[in-house]
Symmetry: C2
Subunit: 418 residues, 2 copies
């Protein structure tokens, strides 16, 4: 083994050990640690900003893009948001230990399920230091130790934040190895982390598609992830125009760079003539470029959509539009081209709405709502560590519960199998 | 690609296509298929037994072990059991489509979770033809297409059973590619099946440890599995002897070759003097060989347990015994040596029972019950496709629900994100 592998292996061992202590900690202790972290971060603002300044200086010297420097920067507003975030996570209900479905069986045993932490989470993310605190807080609250691998450009900031987090753990008398930040920029560290299945129970990659693709391809540990957000809105024959137009505009234009933004709009033939001109005008006002199928181009003037447009996540003010014959064609298009993230139908028709949510095979299916609602906060999870488009384990927005598992609990009175 | 890979790829494509039709099928249609299969199997007894005889003849010619020939044989009793099993699965509640936790959010949307099939399941098993019908029935009921790879010694029997299954699917007007049996004994087929993640959503290996190890190591598709069943019973200081002795005897001797049998007995120091002689006598009557730690050997005469005994799944009339200082030592031993399958405490002490089920990190944790209860039927799942000792997705006995996932359903009235 190389030195880097040895180092990651040691972090893994320590995390596994720490996870056992954390799994035993009660809710009060975990909350005490979170609130202590908030206090230490508040006290250490100057230290944090000095460390961050070193990252910013190095980033400027390296010629980082302004948008990347912006994400890297720790302003007082962002520090306030971190502190507020810690308070919010402390206020969330603790999922750990909850027992559900406890019922008597004919043998006389009671069988139920107890929610328990997964153990050790590995989180790989880009150069946004606030993710360090947010990810750590969600892991702590759900009873999991965490190994964090942030972007190399944020190394100084992340280490300063890790010191605050560990001071908070100390105050609550939890092992400070509950949260460990990888202190090397060597990319081999990622390879070691995502294959170390004796010490890491799940990997959450947060960042661009190439990072997530690489992690998914090479991981030997389960990965909670989504690659694309190719989301659809289908305006049905029986759509209420007063709902369809705001939803279609909101789903595309509320924010462009997010995974739950609509990328393709499907419109039933019977409504194209009426709605497409109104939509085209509204999109034009927002500066959205339209790329339409042949039938769309008969009604409005726009660029021609090519086959590749149906499977492109633009993350930009660009929208593909297709006129479809009705619900069957819409579902077929979605189940073929959707990234199984979020898809919505606009309709007043009961049976078609019922069929859409049953037959569309995506992590979130909606009736008469903007795809932008696919979000842990909007769903009431209280927080979000990521979004999963896989079907195994967590699916859709992943909150505290997605970082837990359930074990069976059997309460007997001396029962034996006959 | 080789011919075998092409062949498996074609099965995968067909399964994915069939899974979409099956996901749309209602409960009545799925039950109709299951009951039709039962009828066809009943009518085709002679054909089934002739096909099975060809397998038995070939097996005898190859010099298969008598125990293996026994598992391979299709008797009328076993055919009756298959038919009965199909009726039982038809009678189970359909998990698909169930919506839970539907609640209003402040934005006015309603958010809930709908249970949906995983899609396509791959099942790899040894030469027990009854598994063909059992696995197919559970997959159909849970709305999943399935690709079955049985042991090569059962090839003729499995193909005859597949014909019955497909006749049943035909009668219910479901695509008969919902259930496909791999018709080659080439081992490359397994390698292709477990890496084909575009068409297969989960793999369930059922069989010996070497099969499961190989599948786990090479799979690129999630695997539902357990490798070992190193289960413990801990007799606590406050155990009721009238419960402790029957549980310790039952957990070891009810059946030896099963994963939920106890392999190591832990006894609190304060109870060793009293209970070990009684237990030793009872085990002697059953012909169980005891291997004890040094402190055990002070009380009863038995072989010395070596370090490797604590991590051995005997699957035989052999039991390791260790005297431990109390609950802390018991939990430490279990969390170190257990295969995280099933562990039980015998105690009348409320606080120690509470700590045991919280702190022991196994798929099933029990108080005052035999480990033999860790079973899908005993837990009320109605059926069992396997047992998982992993924490991601299903854990413990896996029934119909473990073959499903949940997607988010959002019901709105025109809501957009502000």
């Amino acid at each position: 083994m190389t030195t880097v592998q040895d180092y990651i292996y040691t972090l893994g061992q320590q995390a596994r050990q720490a996870s056992k202590a954390l799994a035993r900690a009660n809710t009060g202790t975990k909350n005490k640690a979170l609130l202590a972290m908030a206090e230490v971060i508040d006290q250490q603002r100057d230290t944090l900003k000095r460390a961050n300044q070193r990252d910013l200086d190095a980033g400027k010297a390296k010629g980082l893009e302004p948008s990347m420097l912006d994400r890297l920067e720790l302003t007082d507003t962002r520090i306030d948001a971190m502190i507020e975030g810690l308070h919010q996570v402390a206020a969330l209900a603790d999922p750990v230990g909850g027992i559900t479905d406890l019922a008597f069986r004919p043998s006389g045993i009671q069988v139920g399920k107890m929610r328990v932490p997964l153990g050790v989470i590995g989180i790989i993310y880009e150069s946004r230091p606030n993710v360090t605190v947010e990810a750590a807080s969600l892991c702590i609250k759900s009873g999991n130790a965490v190994i964090l691998r942030g972007g190399s450009e944020a190394m100084e900031s992340n280490q300063a934040l890790a010191a605050c987090i560990q001071a908070g753990l100390d105050q609550a008398q939890l092992p400070n190895t509950v949260v460990q930040v990888i202190e090397t920029t060597d990319r081999e560290a990622v390879g070691a982390l995502i294959t170390m299945n004796e010490f890491v129970d799940v990997i959450v990659p947060r960042g661009g598609k190439s990072l997530i693709e690489r992690v998914s391809r090479d991981a030997r540990v389960p990965v909670i992830k989504h690659l694309d957000g190719i989301c659809h809105v289908y305006i049905d024959d029986d759509a209420d125009a007063a709902k369809a137009i705001p939803i279609a505009i909101n789903a595309k234009t509320h924010r462009y760079g997010v995974c739950n933004a609509m990328e393709t709009l499907l419109v039933a033939t019977s409504r194209a003539q009426e709605l497409l001109p109104l939509l085209a005008q509204a999109y034009a006002e927002k500066g959205v470029e339209l790329r339409g199928c042949e039938r769309t181009q008969v009604v409005i003037s726009c660029a021609a959509a090519t086959e590749s447009d149906w499977s492109t996540e633009y993350l930009a003010p660009i929208l593909a539009i297709k006129v479809v014959d009705g619900l069957d064609a819409a579902i077929e298009h979605i189940n073929h081209f959707s990234s199984q993230h979020t898809d919505s139908i606009v309709t007043e028709n009961y049976s078609r709405g019922r069929r859409f949510i049953t037959e569309v095979d995506s992590a979130s299916v909606m009736i008469n709502a903007s795809t932008r609602f696919a979000d842990g906060f909007e769903y009431g999870l209280g927080a979000e560590i990521g979004i999963s488009t896989d079907k195994i384990h967590a699916r859709g927005p992943v909150g505290l519960e997605g970082l837990t598992s359930q074990k069976y609990v059997v309460l007997g009175d001396g029962q034996i199998r006959e």
